[in-house]
Symmetry: C2
Subunit: 281 residues, 2 copies
């Protein structure tokens, strides 16, 4: 037995499937939404779909659970109740890792992971074989060398860069780099929506488009992530609110030296990111 | 006499020049930075550069002042002291309009304008002939029908959509759609820079990249804009800080109904923007 099984054929699962097929792997998939499953089959994201999740379990060496957090926990619960079968590695892709930790002991072959990838759009139509190319893909070492090596090999097969860190550290970092930025974009869009002025939806440039890209994300995907990482997210939002209030105070007072320092810190940080991403090319 | 004169050959001025030349217009340019002027000449953004700003004044029917706000005010001050010459239309491109209003009476042919365009990068290397294609380009009617028609014709010649509104209204709107988003991006980057954790510059996806695109902007370009629009910008920042604090409160209390409503308002706003931009295609 070899090949890949993918539970959930949206943007992430669809991209995992496309990437694996582009390397010549056989991929079977499952999605609870019949339309998504049909799309994935007809557009050859997968070689085959199965009608029940359990149909994936004995069909591939690697199982990728690419579902929203709550569904991911349910699927792992099902895996926990099973006798050993042919699956050697099971990974999830959720953007919080602490809630997954109990399953490391309970599900044979399970390694919690999180690809830092995404893009315009969602669903299988937005999936791309190169979605993960050059991107970081975090994993929480399970403490079993052979298993961790399988996880690293899987991540490398997606052309992503494996980054090992513990679950609590991961969740603190992605609160700042993903969850808080998401809420900020949503808050900005909701604030703009609250103004009764048609010119607001008319007079804007690419800068605002960039700031509102994430505001298209829906609450159903975020509710369980926000609940699971509430403390770090709330802390991050409060820090930003404090910084925005301080900036407003200084702008009103005409005290610009701190604002200059703020821009310089921001410039230095983006230069650091740009230098890193340049190094990787 | 015909053709276009451009004072300032950065991203905006360079793109104006490229667009005009692509239509077959003769374009002369000036930039106080010799390197920028040389680049613009060698890469044929302009047909010719002049060594002094005043060299532009008698050479074209339309003068575009594409400089930072303070330099723009200085250039208009120079124009105000001159006798009538061949120039029929003078426009600026600054993203605040109230400080320009005094020059409407003092500079013959002047109409305050603001293209809502931009993009990755800055300077003449980032300029593109199609930077303004389909974008809104605000103008503040000068109250002289013939002159306003010239401004509209110039904006249309850049393939942009002319949007008339008064200066105070313009400045309130762009505070929300441009200046506050800029500060938000800067504040987010500065906040991330303040954490002593190397994983922050490692574990991020395209969502953060999108939120930090504007954080590359430098304070020199923003200082006079922030000063000129301080009241509206400070109000906008306070509103967002309040909204972020309220979201943090609710996340900590596990009270998610308001957060769902926030996401839904944000989704509705981005859908409105997407529907508009779709209509325009």
């Amino acid at each position: 037995m070899s090949g890949l099984a993918v539970a959930g054929l949206g943007l992430i699962g669809g991209s995992v499937a496309r990437c694996a097929r582009s390397r010549g792997d056989r991929v079977i998939g499952f999605d609870p939404d019949p339309e998504t499953a049909t799309y994935a089959r007809e557009h050859r994201l997968v070689d085959e779909t199965v009608a029940q999740l359990s149909g994936l379990f004995e069909r591939a060496e690697t199982l990728v659970v690419a579902a929203p957090l709550e569904a991911t926990l349910e699927i792992l619960e099902q895996c926990a109740g099973r006798e050993p079968d042919g699956v050697r590695l099971i990974v999830d892709v959720a953007s919080v890792k602490a809630p997954l930790l109990p399953f490391v002991a309970r599900v044979r072959g399970f390694v919690p992971t999180h690809p830092l990838a995404g893009g315009e759009g969602s669903g299988p139509r937005a999936s791309r074989a190169d979605l993960f190319a050059g991107r970081p893909w975090a994993y929480v070492p399970a403490g079993d060398e052979r298993l961790d090596a399988l996880a690293v090999a899987f991540i490398a097969s997606m052309c992503a860069r494996p980054v090992a860190l513990d679950a609590a550290h991961h969740d603190r970092v992605v609160a700042l780099t993903s969850h808080v930025p998401q809420l900020l974009s949503t808050i900005l869009a909701a604030e703009l929506a609250g103004h009764d002025d048609a010119s607001i939806a008319e007079l804007y440039g690419p800068g605002l488009e960039s700031m509102l890209r994430l505001a298209r994300s829906g609450w159903p995907m975020w509710s369980s992530l926000v609940a699971a990482n509430a403390g770090s997210i709330a802390r991050g939002l409060r820090a930003l609110a404090g910084s925005a209030t301080a900036a407003a105070d200084r702008i009103e007072a005409g005290d610009f030296s701190e604002l200059q320092a703020l821009f310089e810190r921001a410039n230095a940080f983006t230069e650091r990111l740009d230098a890193r991403s340049h190094d990787r090319r």
